[in-house]
Amino acid sequence: MAKILMKGNEAVGEAAVMAGCRYFFGYPITPQSELPHYMVKRLAEVGGVFLQAESEIGAVNMSFGAAGSGARVMTSSSSPGISLKQEGISYLAGAELPVVIVNIMRGGPGLGNIQPTQSDYFQATKGGGHGDYNLIVLAPASVQEIVDLTIDAFDLADKYRNPVMILGDGVLGQMMEPVEIREVQVNVPEKTWATTGAKGRKPNLINSLYIVAERCEEHNLRLQAKFKQMAKDNIRYEDYLADDAEILLVAYGTSARIAKGAIDRAREQGIKVGLVRPISLWPFPYEHLAEVAQKVKSVLVVEMSAGQMIEDVRLALNGSKPVDFYGRLGGMLPVTSEILREIEKLAKGGRSNG
């Protein structure tokens, strides 16, 4: 199959269309605006609906309506806009609606800036809205992986009747890389629960209101059982030169790419260093990480944040190894040479941040 050059944001859109998504509700915000821009044109070509809502809150609730009627739906934004969507995301989780949500992260807190960061990890993986719920959170590191994970995200959302988040950053959204656009076998499961008109059957109800505490607990227990299954079946990661590593880096998305560059340079100096790149941030690959880390001397987490995923790394290792951190904040990117310097410190038996 021929390759074409695409921006990450556009690739999300094309992958969504490939996966049978015909409804997109959004509101522009840099650095993800190319996605709604792409969808305006593309959805018109395939007979879908693009709607620029009056706000992010409008867009997420329109997604609720479309998903409730059984459609494959996407909404997208960047950090501040995703904060606005959180109430709606909690409602989607509560009402068990499959929607794919895209967050192309930018600098925060507050209005921050439009530069790439990874500082919404907590919000994405620990429940940005209220209530006991989880999203499957997938973190691509290349434009091709954006395509592959976006297609999977629609299947997973339908499989579990749960929102799924694609978590990228400004670099991934803005960069162009070659992608293979392939034929996708779209298999949308039958949605007997959807509100499609109750002629000849009992009405369906899409709802997250359980006013009697006993019923709400039952609902929550059922959701928890589902989240447990979701967590078991959807762990994804990539290992890079991790087999013989004495120093293990843990990074995802753009940070992981830059970390790989630093690892290559450290290997040229004979330093045995490798990487585990979590691809699913929820569920997090706790067990795999613990297993790989058994053989290493030290662990370095690299993030474009003040240190968020590091908490999951520490949980995984449960105090068995020292865990150091290197991060850049506010839209600054870690540079290969800076990560290399931290690796060199660890190789000499020092600490990276201590």
């Binding site: 050059l5 670099v171 162009m176 070659p178 560059g261 040479s337």
Partner: protein, 180 residues
């Protein structure tokens, strides 16, 4: 082979498209490629730049921190990117628009009267292609045919008539640096 190239100038000079064209050409040669635009506050004031990475290996950072080569199409871009170029790297300056000289001695500077050369060819708008031709000649990062082939991918068919002019512009730029 790893070439990390910065292209920088005013908005409207075709900087972004030139970068995409080179990226496309690298892809056609089955190399690993990445293109990334500047989209942050540095765009205010009318400067535009993009990074192009072409490599035999998987590309780690798509963001170019230390370019092996820089194409500089305006004065503010020279001030910004001259310090960033990797020692031993090259810097191509459009001397039609920039009268300042490169101060560093650990990089090789080339001054190309890209606008005048483009006008001689009959269209000042191919000044970017003149300087791109110089880059190709100096770095051999991709070959001329791949760039020509890429033009067919990025241009709509009714613009194909411009391809021979663009090819001439590439060759002109190459000739200038070849002859010193």
């Amino acid at each position: 082979m790893l070439q990390e190239i910065i292209m920088a100038g005013f908005g409207g000079q075709g900087i972004m498209s030139m970068g995409q064209l080179l990226t496309y050409a690298g892809m056609l040669e089955n190399k690993h490629v990445a293109w990334i635009p500047s989209y942050g506050p540095e765009m205010r004031g009318g400067t535009a730049n993009c990074g192009v990475t072409i490599s035999d290996r998987e590309i780690s950072s798509p963001v170019v921190f230390e370019p092996t080569a820089a194409i500089i199409m305006n004065r503010p871009s020279l001030d910004k990117f001259e310090p960033a170029v990797k020692p031993g790297g090259i810097i191509l300056v459009n001397s039609s628009l920039i009268d300042k000289k490169v101060q560093r001695t650990d990089i090789k500077a080339y001054y190309i009267q890209a606008n005048e050369l483009a006008e001689e060819l009959g269209n000042s708008r191919v000044s970017g292609m003149v300087i791109l031709g110089a880059l190709l000649e100096l770095t051999k990062v991709v070959n001329f045919d791949s760039v020509e082939e890429s033009l067919k991918k990025v241009l709509p068919e009714y613009r194909y008539n411009l391809i021979p002019l663009n090819r001439k512009a590439l060759e002109k730029g190459a000739e200038v640096v070849r002859n010193g």
